[in-house]
C-alpha cells in the first residue's frame, strides 16, 4: 500500500536535513506504528507524505499503491486515498464543519470521476458516524475546530477519516490530549475502519493507544531514520525502558 524508500528530506528555507533515509512499507490490511523521541522527524514524515510546503525531498521516493506521491498536489494525494489526522488540527473560522466535510467528500468524488453525493445521503452518513464518536449536531454546525477542545479536535479528525474512508490513514499523535473515554472512542473509530484494503500508520508516544489499536509492526524512529522495527513487544519495551537502550544498541 504505502512504500517509502530511502527518503531524505530537508527544510526548504534552511540547510537542515530532517529525514535521513527512511525506509518503510505498510501493506494493505496492516497497522504499523511509529514511535520515537521528540524531534526525530515523525510529523515531518507525515507532512511530506501529505504534501505540505516547506520541505524538499533530496533523495528517495514514496508511493501509494504504486503511484508516486511526491509529484502530486496535496488534494491529489487525498483523492488517491491518503489521509493524515493532524497532530495539531487547524481552525478554520467562517467555514462550518458540515460544509467543510461536504466540500471535501464531493471534491474527492469529483477527482475520481464519481457523482456528488446527495445532500440527504451525505447528512445521514455524517450523522451516523458523528454519533459513534459522540460528536453532536452543534459541533457539526460550528466552524471547523474553532473553539473545540483538544480532545474534540482529535475526534473531529477521526470523523473526517471515517467520512472520507481513505485507503491509507496516517494518525499523528491522535491520542495526545484525549481522556480515557475519548481514547476508547477514537480507537473504536479507527478499529471500525480496519479492513483488508486499508493501511494504517499510527504515530504515538504511548503504548496505551496500541492497547486499543493493535499494531502488526512497530517502528522506532530516531534522528530521521527508522532504526528498529519489530512486533508489538517493541512498544512495550519503549514504554518500560525508554529509548536509551535501543539507541545505544543501534549506535
Amino acid at each position: 500500500m504505502l512504500e517509502i524508500k530511502n527518503l531524505h528530506v530537508k527544510l526548504e528555507e534552511e540547510d537542515k536535513q530532517i529525514l535521513k533515509g527512511v525506509d518503510l512499507e505498510v501493506p494493505a490490511g496492516k497497522v504499523h506504528a511509529i514511535m520515537g523521541p521528540n524531534g526525530s522527524g515523525k510529523s515531518t514524515l507525515s507532512y511530506v507524505l501529505s504534501g505540505r510546503d516547506g520541505y524538499e525531498v533530496t533523495e528517495g521516493s514514496a508511493s501509494l499503491e504504486g503511484q508516486d506521491l511526491l509529484d502530486l498536489d496535496p488534494e491529489e494525494r487525498a483523492a488517491a486515498g491518503l489521509f493524515l489526522a493532524f497532530q495539531y488540527p487547524v481552525e478554520i473560522p467562517g467555514v462550518g464543519n458540515m460544509t467543510f466535510l461536504r466540500t471535501a467528500v464531493n471534491a474527492q468524488r469529483k477527482a475520481r470521476g464519481e457523482d456528488e453525493m446527495s445532500a440527504t445521503d451525505f447528512l445521514k452518513m455524517v450523522r451516523e458516524k458523528a454519533k459513534d464518536l459522540k460528536i453532536d449536531a452543534e459541533m457539526l454546525k460550528r466552524p471547523v475546530n474553532v473553539g473545540f477542545s483538544g480532545g474534540e479536535k482529535k475526534r473531529n479528525e477521526i470523523l473526517q477519516m471515517a467520512v472520507l474512508a481513505p485507503k491509507m490513514c496516517i494518525l499523528d499523535e491522535t491520542d495526545s490530549g484525549l481522556d480515557v473515554d475519548a481514547m476508547k472512542l477514537v480507537s473504536d473509530g479507527v478499529n471500525a475502519l480496519r479492513d483488508a484494503g486499508r493501511g494504517f500508520l499510527v504515530i504515538t508516544h504511548y503504548q496505551r493507544l496500541l492497547d486499543h489499536i493493535k499494531p502488526d509492526v512497530v517502528h522506532i524512529m530516531a534522528d530521521g531514520r527508522i532504526i528498529k522495527s519489530g512486533g508489538p513487544e517493541l512498544a512495550l519495551e519503549v514504554e518500560k525502558n525508554g529509548y536509551a537502550d535501543i539507541l545505544s544498541e543501534v549506535a
Binding site: D73, R77, V90, I92, P93, V95, T103, V105, P143, Q160
Partner: protein, 426 residues
C-alpha cells in the same frame, strides 16, 4: 475664508458644467447647497479626508469614458418580488419600471414634483446632508443636493409588502449622473430598499434617510460589475428612538468608488449597522468612509467592512465613532479587514474613536493579511483543490460582513455573486 486658487478653479470649472434648477420647493435648498459647495470647494488631493483616495476623477468637469459591461448574468435580485424603479444613466426609464404605487409607501420622482411649491420632502432635502457637513466637509454631497436631476422621494407610512428596488443601468459610455433620494420612514413603519447597478460612467448619488421612532430601514446594495465606472455616494441617516438602520453594500470591480455613510443616532436605543464587502482585481479603488455620531443613550452601532484585493487593487477604510457627551451606554463596534491575495495590493485604514461619555463600550480593529496557509493546506489535505480552498477561505473571510444582511434570500444572492466573482478571478 477664501479658497486656495486651484481649489477655487477646480470647483468653478465643475460648476460651470452644471445648471441649477431655479423653481419649486427644492430651489432654496439647492441654492444653499451651491453656496456650501463654493464655500468648501470640491475635494482636492491634499485634503485630509481624501488622503487615501484621489478625488480628481470625481470632481473634474469632464467625464472619463467608462465602457459598458455586459455580464450576461441575470439582473440582481431578479428572483425576489420587488417594486422596481429603473434609471438608465441617471434618467428614469418608465417602460422598465413598475407602477410606483404600493401600500404603505408613497413613491414619487424628484423630477416630477420639483415644480410644486409644497412637499413633505422639503424639510429633509439637503437638511441631513447639511448636518452631515460638520465636523467634516463632504462637498460632493452638497454638489449633489444642488444639481441632482432626479431621484426618489419615498415616504414610508406602513410596512410595504415588498422591497423597493432601484436599478441603475449604465448604457452610455460618457454618462454623468446625479441622483438624490429622500426617504422618510414614519414611526413604526418598516421598509427594505435595494439598489443595484453601476448607474453611469460617473455617478454621484446622495440619499437622505430619516427613520422615526420605532421604525426600521433595511438597505442592500450592489454596485454592478462595470470595471471602469466611478462613483461617489453618500447616505445621510438620522435615527430616532428604538429605530433600526441596517445597510450592506457589495462592490465588485469599479476603478473608483467612494461610499460615505454618515449616521446620527438621535433617539435612545437606536440600532445602526453598516457593512460592506468588496472584491477587486487590478485597477480597483474602493473607499468606505463612515462617520457615526452617537447622541443618545443606549444605542448600538456596528461597522463591518471586508475587502478582498488582488493584482494591485486598493482598499480604503475611514471609520469614525463619535460619542457625544451624555450618550451613555453606547455600544460601538467597528471592524475593517482586508484579505490581500497577493503582494501587490494595499489596504489603507484609519479607524477613529472620539468619546465624550464615560459609560460606553467601543471597540475597533483593523487588520490586513494574506490567506491562511495552514488552513489552505488543511483543506487541500482533505482533497479540496487549491482554488476551491482559497475561495472557501475567502468567502469565510467575507462572511462576517455578509451575515449583517438579515434577509436570507438577499444574503444568499450576495454570496452566490461573490462565488461567481471568485471563480472568474481565481
Amino acid at each position: 475664508m477664501a479658497l486656495p486658487q486651484t481649489k477655487h478653479d477646480t470647483t468653478e470649472a465643475r460648476l460651470a458644467t452644471l445648471s441649477l434648477p431655479e423653481s419649486g420647493w427644492s430651489a432654496p435648498a439647492r441654492r444653499a447647497a451651491l453656496a456650501r459647495v463654493r464655500e468648501m470647494g470640491l475635494p482636492a488631493a491634499r485634503d485630509e479626508y481624501w488622503k487615501f483616495t484621489r478625488p480628481d476623477t470625481l470632481t473634474r468637469p469632464d467625464v472619463i469614458e467608462a465602457a459598458v459591461f455586459d455580464s450576461g448574468e441575470p439582473p440582481f435580485f431578479n428572483e425576489i418580488d420587488t417594486l422596481k424603479v429603473v434609471f438608465v444613466d441617471g434618467v428614469f426609464d418608465a417602460d422598465a419600471s413598475d407602477d410606483l404605487s404600493l401600500e404603505g409607501v408613497s413613491i414619487e420622482r424628484l423630477a416630477d414634483v420639483a415644480g410644486t411649491d409644497i412637499h413633505w420632502a422639503k424639510d429633509l432635502y439637503g437638511t441631513l446632508e447639511t448636518n452631515g457637513q460638520d465636523p467634516v466637509a463632504r462637498p460632493l454631497a452638497a454638489l449633489n443636493t444642488a444639481f441632482a436631476t432626479d431621484g426618489l422621494l419615498i415616504h414610508v407610512t406602513g410596512k410595504p409588502s415588498k422591497p423597493i428596488q432601484l436599478t441603475y443601468s449604465h448604457a452610455d459610455t460618457r454618462s454623468d449622473a446625479i441622483l438624490h433620494h429622500v426617504v422618510k420612514v414614519e414611526a413604526g413603519a418598516e421598509v427594505t430598499i435595494l439598489e443595484n447597478g453601476p448607474a453611469a460612467a460617473r455617478f454621484n448619488k446622495c440619499t437622505e434617510i430619516d427613520i422615526a421612532d420605532g421604525a426600521a430601514l433595511h438597505h442592500v446594495r450592489a454596485q454592478g460589475r462595470d470595471h471602469e465606472r466611478r462613483a461617489a455616494t453618500h447616505m445621510f441617516t438620522r435615527l430616532g428612538e428604538k429605530s433600526t438602520y441596517k445597510s450592506f453594500t457589495l462592490t465588485v470591480n469599479g476603478v473608483m468608488t467612494r461610499n460615505e455613510q454618515v449616521l446620527e443616532l438621535t433617539g435612545d436605543e437606536a440600532i445602526a449597522h453598516v457593512a460592506g464587502a468588496c472584491v477587486g482585481d487590478g485597477d480597483f479603488h474602493h473607499d468606505d468612509t463612515v462617520f457615526i455620531t452617537h447622541d443618545a443613550v443606549d444605542c448600538e452601532s456596528r461597522q463591518v467592512f471586508k475587502k478582498v484585493l488582488k493584482n494591485g487593487a486598493t482598499g480604503v477604510f475611514q471609520g469614525k465613532i463619535l460619542v457625544k457627551p451624555g450618550a451613555q451606554k453606547t455600544d460601538g463596534y467597528q471592524i475593517s479587514q482586508s484579505l490581500l491575495l497577493d503582494g501587490d495590493s494595499q489596504f489603507l485604514a484609519k479607524p477613529e474613536l472620539e468619546i465624550y461619555a464615560d459609560d460606553v463600550a467601543c471597540s475597533h480593529g483593523s487588520t490586513s493579511g494574506a490567506i491562511d496557509e495552514e488552513g489552505l493546506f488543511y483543506l487541500r489535505s482533505r482533497g479540496v483543490p487549491e482554488r476551491d480552498a482559497t475561495n472557501l477561505l475567502t468567502l469565510a473571510f467575507l462572511a462576517e460582513a455578509v451575515d449583517e444582511i438579515e434577509d436570507q434570500a438577499l444574503a444568499d444572492e450576495i454570496v452566490s455573486r461573490l462565488e461567481g466573482w471568485l471563480t472568474r478571478h481565481g
